[in-house]
């Protein structure tokens, strides 16, 4: 099996950062 776990980790980190940042952004903008 190829050793490419680093790419998997990078993709999972990027996804978490994008989703987390957007969730925080919406939360802040949604405060009345």
């Amino acid at each position: 099996m190829p050793d490419n776990g680093g790419f998997m980790v990078a993709a999972y980190v990027v996804t978490a950062v994008v989703l987390g940042s957007y969730a925080v952004s919406l939360w802040r903008r949604g405060r009345s």
Binding site: P2, F7, A11, V14, V18, L26, G30, S32
Partner: protein, 231 residues
């Protein structure tokens, strides 16, 4: 009055609940995919990017289809809430597109040996992303509310028309992008344990879309209401 502030607040509150549930679901998907789903024999661990890339693509393209539908309805009914929903869905769709367009190349580098190739699927997906960047450039450039909604609705409909074409690129062109492994006429080509993880992720990303778009819709209604007061 169609721009109801109480309804906007309710949408934001409900969207937040859905988002929190969906984010808990994302954590569960991470655990399931990384710990309890075996790696694919030929692609190795990089194959697990599939559990994020495809659901993000699904949510992004679904968002753009809903932009097109609500934009067409806006041009017909002139209802400002439809424009607010189109704006909300376009922004959420762009966010999912960022995930799709970053996780794709991260998978492509170890599997194809390159971050990017100008094949039909990738090129048209990038074009769709840029088209919706243009959608927001247009919205920020036009000050007059009705004109802005009308012009951006036309762009939103164009974006929606591109979605089926993006889906068909792998059949119409000789592309390096893989053919569908789940939505196939002869059934999914995934082992049961991988299919389970994928479907849970697909449901989670759909819920995430709903949570995000409800919040963003409430924010758009508030902004439109304020603009109406300022005018």
């Amino acid at each position: 009055m169609s721009l109801d502030l109480a309804a906007a607040d309710r949408a934001i509150a409900r969207g937040r609940v859905l988002t929190l549930l969906a984010l808990a679901g994302v954590v569960a998907v991470y655990v399931l995919a990384l710990q309890f789903t075996p790696p694919e024999r030929l692609q190795g661990l990089a194959q697990k990017i599939f559990y994020l890339h495809v659901p993000a693509a699904w949510s992004g393209l679904m968002a753009f289809v809903l932009v097109g539908i609500t934009s067409a309805l806006f041009l017909w009914l002139k209802e400002p809430r439809l424009d607010a929903f189109a704006e909300a869905s376009a922004e959420v769709g762009l966010m999912f597109s960022v995930i799709m367009l970053t996780t794709g190349p991260i998978w492509g580098k170890p599997i194809w040996g390159t971050w990017w190739t100008w094949d039909a699927r990738l090129t048209f997906t990038l074009f769709e992303f840029l088209l919706f960047c243009g959608y927001f450039a247009l919205r920020s450039a036009v000050r007059e509310r009705e004109e802005r909604a009308k012009f951006s609705a036309v762009v939103g409909i164009m974006g929606m028309l591109l979605v089926p074409f993006i889906h068909l690129t792998v059949y119409l062109f000789n592309t390096t992008h893989p053919q569908p492994v789940v939505a196939r006429v002869d059934g999914p080509a995934l082992p049961g344990v991988m299919l389970r993880t994928f479907l849970i992720s697909l449901g989670t990303f759909t819920l995430l879309y709903l949570g995000f778009v409800m919040q963003r819709y409430g924010i758009a209604i508030r902004t439109a209401h304020q603009e109406a007061l300022d005018a």
